[in-house]
Amino acid sequence: MQTKLQTLLPPAVLEDPEVAAAELPRALMARTNFIPGVRHRLGWRGMRDCSATQNGLTVRVTGKSGVFGLEAESASMSDNVGRAAFRLYYFPDPTEEVIESYSVQAGIIAHGRDYLDRVRDFTQHDDLRALFGIARLESTYVPDTSGICLTLTAVNCDEIRSLDGLVVQTPEGPVQAIEPGGVDQNLPCWETAWPLFQALAASASYCLGVSPDRLEQYTGLGTCRVYGAGLPLRWEQSDTAHILNLSLGYSFEEPLPVPDGDGQAELVWKAPSPIPEAFANAPWWDPNIPGAKNSFDKRTMGITDKPRLIVLTGFLGAGKTSFLARFIENQASKGGFVAVIQNEIGQKGLDGKLLGQHFAVTEVDEGCVCCTLAGSLRLALADILSEFQPDFVVLETTGLANPSNLLQEIADLDDMLDFASVTTILDAVNAPNALANHEVARSQVRLADVLLLNKIDQANEADQNALCALVRELNPSAPMHHTMHGDISPAMLYGVNFRQRASRPAPQLFPMGKAPSHQQDDISSAVISFDAPLDRAQFSHQAESLPSHILRVKGVVDFIDASAPEVFQYVPGSYSLTPADADTGERFLVVIGQDAKNAAKGLFAALQS
């Protein structure tokens, strides 16, 4: 416990119980927020210190679209026990249902244009402090036993009546928002504060490596408040309001904090008694978060490497899922973290019940997070990258997706991702049929950077050869691998550290007596090669003015101003040139798209002039 506490706070802080109690909640949040996988599991969605004052922070919690504020109120020490109290606030999102329960004035403020900016530094704004408070949080620290205790106190419902009523000026003229004597605020404070307390307590269990061994719950009579008629806000008796108070102790041997007044003990629990029914599902009972250590918030180290993007295509049943499972397993074993995005571009995957989120997490484990999109890929990606900091993003498209529609969209993401590969998986048994009948299947093959012929064990040799010939006709250049159960090492597929580069296309092999079929508007490919180094400025100009029906260009070229060859990658609207790792001696460009031959000819002529 002592060692674990030291992971949170250094000896200099733990030596002063008052400071330790005051710093504990922030340390719990900060330490757990460093690790995306842990952060996500515990229910944090980001935190931020108020910048102007030292005594406040804002934090978001899963399932709440608003922002919580925590403000240090007091810290003290007596009998070598440190105690700190914090005021807890909740600033709802203006579209949240609960906004109705806040005072009218709070509602108006929440709709102000600068609301979120003010919330970030809420400790500076007394109107926010006066109108959005929901609860009190206490943290207690006993150095002798290294015991800590977290306490939440809030009313079940905070009712405030306005004696004079309230008139609001609206575009349609004045509106009587509250009748004289009517209810201005009717806020479920305890319920609103609960998610934050759960996340904080779960963080304590995780950081300390133990679950709480004590729990006590009290209720007391609450009050309601009234204002108006020139008198300040004042308390009145209430039949319906109760003050609720819950304390969780970790190695805590002192009496747990008891609320003032005539509180009744509802529940007093101590380990090893069975966990009380009412809290059986609370997240703080399990201090372990298996498999979350592989995620890594790179920004904490100032590392801004972009994740690599793999587009995974293939017809339904080709074996994408088993390939992906192997890929994730392999990355996880090396400490990598993969974000898998399953979505049909343009299709509304979810019905927007995500509290303003652009994606939903379907699974998080040792090496990956799986997400489904709701709407824009770009917005979702921004959030996913920010929250999970993956090393790879795999965009898994369903079997009916045409990757050429994707390429344009992906090109717009090059500020966020490094485009690595279109990997296409074919089912050795069913592929011939799919390729014969579906233009989408043919496009998937044509645009692939890497091809996997999967389920090869289920096809005889003649069929395999015929399929290879068919595939080579569509895509002469991509490396092709034969696999079973999607099982292949990523190093084989992509080279060590994804350094494998395009290789020069093999000569096209046509199956006996069959010339390649030319359908109109079909995608084709062409290869051009260069004997002499090229002029960089001219090359860039050409790359920027390729016609829109060219979907991919890739290859290796020499420039006059560079000593080493460079790898060229082009998708519509974006291209990259990176030094080649190994010089294979080959210089070529593969051009893929509609009418690729003419485009390639034009490009060749322009570059040779």
Binding site: F34, V104, I108, P232, I303, D383
Partner: protein, 385 residues
């Protein structure tokens, strides 16, 4: 509430930008005692830290490690971002048992008798016992302050990580001679992280009597390291808040948790005559906004102007809850810095964004293993005033 629907409708009016407001300003807030209860009015303290004529910063090294992938693999392999940095088995504290199985005591026992003078021999032992020794670099900067009367004062900020790399960089910039001649009057540590702190013996080899300032919050291993490296000078632990050093120079300690079980960061503020505030940071884990806001609230500086900044500019100490807002590029703009030299943990992408945004970034020469001209790189200098 019976008037829910009605209430929601007129609140929406506010969102569409059509002004709605309380009539007679007699809402709940007018009656709230909170109006008068603000116990921490953030009034600017405007502490007078004096003034200096100019500041010159020499980047001794900003390259803390050479391969990101190797570093991330090590941290993940050792158990993640909350693991005690002394347990990684990184140089110099290796015991030969492999990643994540090290300890300060084991590692130190192997090299203590060689510190701080026989670093080459120590490094041979370190190479045999630690993981990924060649990935270690380090962060260190020389600060030369010119007083109003023209006299020069020199200080070090941090002392790198790899003994080998740090010593190479010290020799390149002549720091070894300055230390030997007692020209450098103090060494400030920004924080206890491996890449800023573990190269301490290289400074002590050339001047074991140098005064050292550390932020409060060092762990027992870190405090022991100062002794084990053979420090014979004064050690000053700076408590959270402002500490005046000499006219025109002060340090500020932020009590914040940092990854790898580190706590507390010390940054430097200077007040340059006719120019304004100059900030020098190691990593700025407190976040640039808090850093600049703190200066604004705590310190009086010339013309109330933010003049310059040097060092690692952390995007944010944590993941902000609003990705749209968590953009250092936007946030830095509002302070109007006139000279920016950034490197280390700023991120090259971020530095390039500054340049694109038209910020006055002083570009470097990309020498001595610094990767990009957007960074004020190893061996480069920047002058303020």
């Amino acid at each position: 509430m019976s008037d829910n629907i009605k209430r929601r409708d007129f609140l929406k009016g506010a969102a569409t930008g059509v002004g709605i407001g309380l009539l007679g300003a007699m809402g709940l807030y007018s009656y709230s005692p909170m109006r008068k209860s603000h116990f921490q009015k953030a009034e600017r303290k405007m502490a007078d830290i004096g003034v200096c004529k100019s500041i010159k910063v020499t980047n001794i090294s900003e390259t803390s490690w050479f391969e990101n992938a190797v570093l991330m693999g090590d941290i993940k392999g050792a158990g993640g971002l909350l693991v005690n940095q002394y347990d990684y088995n990184w140089p110099p504290f290796g015991n030969g048992k492999g990643l994540g199985k090290g300890s300060y005591e084991d590692g130190m026992a192997k090299i203590k008798h060689l510190l701080p003078d026989r670093l080459d021999e120590a490094w041979k032992i370190i190479e045999a016992n630690c993981v990924n020794v060649d990935n270690a670099g380090g962060y260190a900067a020389l600060i030369e302050l010119e007083q109003m009367d023209g006299a020069k004062r020199k200080f070090l900020l941090d002392s790198g990580w790899s003994y080998k790399w740090t010593e190479e960089c010290f020799k390149r910039e002549g720091i070894d001679k300055m230390l030997e001649n007692k020209e450098i009057e103090a060494l400030f540590f920004s924080h206890e992280h491996f890449d800023h702190y573990w190269g301490l013996p290289v400074t002590l080899k050339y001047d074991p009597e140098i005064t050292i300032y550390i932020p409060e919050g060092f762990y027992p291993e870190g405090l022991q390291y100062i002794k084990d490296c053979g420090h014979k000078g004064k050690l000053i632990t700076v408590k959270p808040g402002l500490q005046k050093i000499i006219p025109g120079m002060s340090s500020y300690v932020f009590a914040i948790p940092i990854i790898c079980r580190v706590y507390g960061e010390q940054s430097l503020y200077f007040n340059v005559a006719d120019k304004g505030l100059v900030s020098v940071t190691g990593c700025c884990h407190q976040g640039i906004i808090r850093f600049a806001e703190t200066a604004y609230n705590e310190i009086k500086y010339e013309n109330d102007n933010c003049h310059g900044i040097y060092g690692g500019l952390h995007i944010s100490p944590f993941d902000d809850w609003d990705p749209k807002y968590d953009d250092l590029v936007i946030s830095l703009g509002k302070y109007g810095f006139e000279r920016i030299g950034c490197n280390h943990c700023t991120g090259v992408l971020c530095a390039k964004k500054f340049i694109t945004a038209g910020y006055p970034v002083i570009e470097g020469t990309a020498q001595y293993r610094s990767k990009d001209k957007a960074y004020l790189g190893n061996g480069d200098t920047i002058t303020f005033g």
